[in-house]
């Protein structure tokens, strides 16, 4: 005579056969391959820029008065040669030169080298000098895109270095490690003004 409990357990096992799971791996492999081929990993990385709004050329526009000394003019010709502030320059030196331009301010109109400033009250920091500097890039239609981006990169790089300098000065931390509200304050101290002028077609295509 057998124990009834043992018997019923045995019978229950027989009634429900195990589902064969060996094909599960194949199915999931198929799905995996589908996702591998149909998707891309890349997130867009780029140099972010705001374009100025379109202005109808037929309408008369009031020109915004910008002092010559506030402008940092970068010219690039069709041979990818650089002219910065009326002097030829290699793109390697651009970052240092622009940083120097952004860090020094002078409201003396006689001084043509450095831009003017306004004094502003920034909450949490106090009164600071805010540079009026505007970077103007002028390129030719024949300038290569490679060079254009290289210059843009140097300019943004210079701005980032200045932002880091102010962040270390006021918050003892790098700009990227700051809180968003603090980053906004730093952005007020060093506004990033980059103008991309309409190109002149001097050298042809």
């Amino acid at each position: 005579m057998k124990i009834p409990l043992f018997k019923s357990k045995n019978m229950g096992k027989k009634k429900v056969p195990e589902i064969n799971g060996s094909s599960m791996a194949d199915i999931s492999f198929m799905l995996l391959i589908f996702f591998l081929t149909a998707t891309t990993m890349e997130t867009d990385k780029g140099l972010f820029r705001m374009l100025p709004p379109y202005q109808d050329p037929s309408k008369q526009q009031e020109d915004v008065k910008v002092l010559d000394k506030d402008l940092f003019v970068v010219l690039v010709n069709k041979d990818d040669k650089l002219m910065v502030e009326k002097k030829p320059m290699h793109s390697r030196e651009l970052r240092k030169t622009l940083k120097d331009f952004l860090m020094n301010m002078n409201n003396d109109l006689e001084d043509k080298q450095y831009p003017g400033y306004t004094e502003e009250n920034i909450p949490g920091i106090g009164r600071v000098k805010v540079t009026k500097a505007i970077v103007s890039i002028q390129n030719d239609r024949g300038t290569s895109y490679q060079k254009f981006i290289e210059i843009q990169n140097e300019i943004v790089g210079a701005y980032n270095e200045v932002k880091d300098y102010y962040s270390l000065k006021y918050f003892k931390r790098n700009f990227n490690d700051l809180k968003e509200s603090q980053q906004d304050l730093i952005k007020q101290i060093i506004p990033q003004k980059i103008s991309e002028a309409e190109p002149k077609n001097i050298g042809g295509k």
Partner: protein, 155 residues
Amino acid sequence: MAQFRSKEKKEPPAISTQSLPDIIFMLIFFFMVSTTIRENTLLIKKPQLPKATEYVKLEKKSVVSSIYISAPSIPLQKIYGTQPVIQLNESIEDISKIAQFIETERGSMPANDRSQLTVSLKVDSKAKMGIVTDVKMELRKANALKISYAVIPKH
């Protein structure tokens, strides 16, 4: 002792593959989460993006539209020539179509995201600024003012 010897003679047990599906599923979930569905098949040569160090990441994929500028792919060079052309969505288009393209891109977005529309310019580094400037002008006319010059990170 005899017992041990008899055990040794047995075939080694098969490696259990029970956990294999789980591992693969884990991989699937990883890819599902970290990737996005590929958008466009390129009719032009894959743009060799310029390198830069000071890039920012465009986090919100849904507000980014891409405009590609590069030379046409080799089979299409008979029709379009070898100079860089513009690809919008799935076709090579004339520059005047950009305004229309921006309109449709805006239309396919949720209403409160529309102002955030960012155009990512994926331009081949060998292209000239002329065509890029024309595209920028068209974007200004279409009031799509947020742009990003796509780059490859350089370290």
